[in-house]
């Protein structure tokens, strides 16, 4: 079974919350672990984002939290230049979009996107 951990920026967090419209200062991240073949959701964690409190460098701190949580995919609004570079360094794949969608739905779409790329 192939698994993947996807990080979504969220306000309160959880599968029923919607994808937030910013990365650096999103209050939380919802980390969803899913089976890439069946799409089954195996685990859901909500982590606080230290970037939320940061005066500066929020995007980078947020990228750090995503990497620390073990996510290999980030899905949400486009990261800024510094956050983008940090995510690249941490080898986290960036799939932009899904703002406003419930996380549960976004997970399905992201898995689809990943499958398409693999077959690509």
């Amino acid at each position: 079974m192939a698994k993947v951990k996807i990080a979504f920026p969220t306000e309160k967090g959880g599968l029923d919350d919607v994808v937030y419209d910013r990365l650096g200062r999103t209050p939380t991240f919802t980390i969803v672990e899913a089976d890439t073949e069946t799409g089954e959701i195996l685990d859901v964690k909500i982590v606080k984002n230290p970037g939320y409190e940061a005066g500066s460098g929020a995007g980078v701190k947020a990228a750090q939290v995503i990497a620390d949580a073990g996510a290999t995919v980030y899905a949400g609004p486009n990261p800024g230049p510094n956050a983008y570079a940090a995510l690249q360094y941490f080898k986290v794949k960036v799939i932009p979009g899904y703002v406003g969608l419930p996380v549960r739905e976004a997970v399905k779409k992201v898995l689809e996107e990943l499958r398409k790329e693999e077959q690509g």
Partner: protein, 329 residues
Amino acid sequence: MLDSKVELVVASGKGGVGKSTVTSSLAIVAAEHGYKMVAADADAEAPNLHIVLGVASWDREEPYYEGRVAYILEDKCTNCGVCAEVCPLGAVEEKGGKYWINPFICEGCITCSINCPEHAIRYKHRVQAGWIRLREKTKYGFPLVSGEITPGRPNSGKLVTEVKNYASKVLGGEGLLLVDAAAGIGCQVISSLTGAHLAVLVTEPTPAGFSDLQRIHRLTKHFMIAPMLVINKYDINEEFIETIEEYARAENIPIVGRIPYDPAVPKSMAKGVPVMEAYPSSPASKALKEVSEKIAGEILPKWREFRSKYKPRKPEPYIPLILHDTSRG
């Protein structure tokens, strides 16, 4: 009129090219068109939208707290002076052998406290770093949210976030969120841009203006924001206009307005009145009205189409870091 929240940011890189003039004109015209809207002044180092829009008093003023400032515990301090040596900004001042940390300089890094042999340095947390102010109804009908940094405090991206979040809350759902972006480069500008759907980039035809335009445009590409260009004081340098227009063509940025240099603008700013009101038949006023009508009357009602047409194809690859030896990973 708008079935969801649409965020339009007016940005320019360095200040002084006429950003606030464009934002205030656009806000007034959008209000005339009947949009449900909120204006947000995210230029916290030098907020001046409220001055042009004739806001003389606020309905709500909330202090904004951020960061920390170091201070020395006098009874533990032995006046060794190590803190003064290591402070990267020279914030530790000495007078008659005694040391004091200047709170208007200190940014709260931990260097002095880590080096103090007596552990005599503490931090005051949640320092007041600014204000967030609300005027529920300007004389044009819409609310204005304005952020300001306390003099002496460093710039803050978080304050900009708070201003925009507050403005979104006041807007409450669908409508236009019009943001006057922070000037400069760095966190406060990045924070002004995230979440925006459309950007009005304001530039002037000078070498400095052009390089600022390129920089701010690159940032909008990162956030997949659909840009449009306004060239201010366009007649001060006819030769440079070519360069700017060529860049706009190559980058697929529609030019929505050209404002001539006009002494009526600084004159009206000195009075604290929008130029379209103070000198309605002056050349700049006419041009500003035209641009604002175009944006409020043509572009905004069909903003989704505008976005599909002018949004960047894909995010700009931009690696601002130096890669060190990565043999460990």
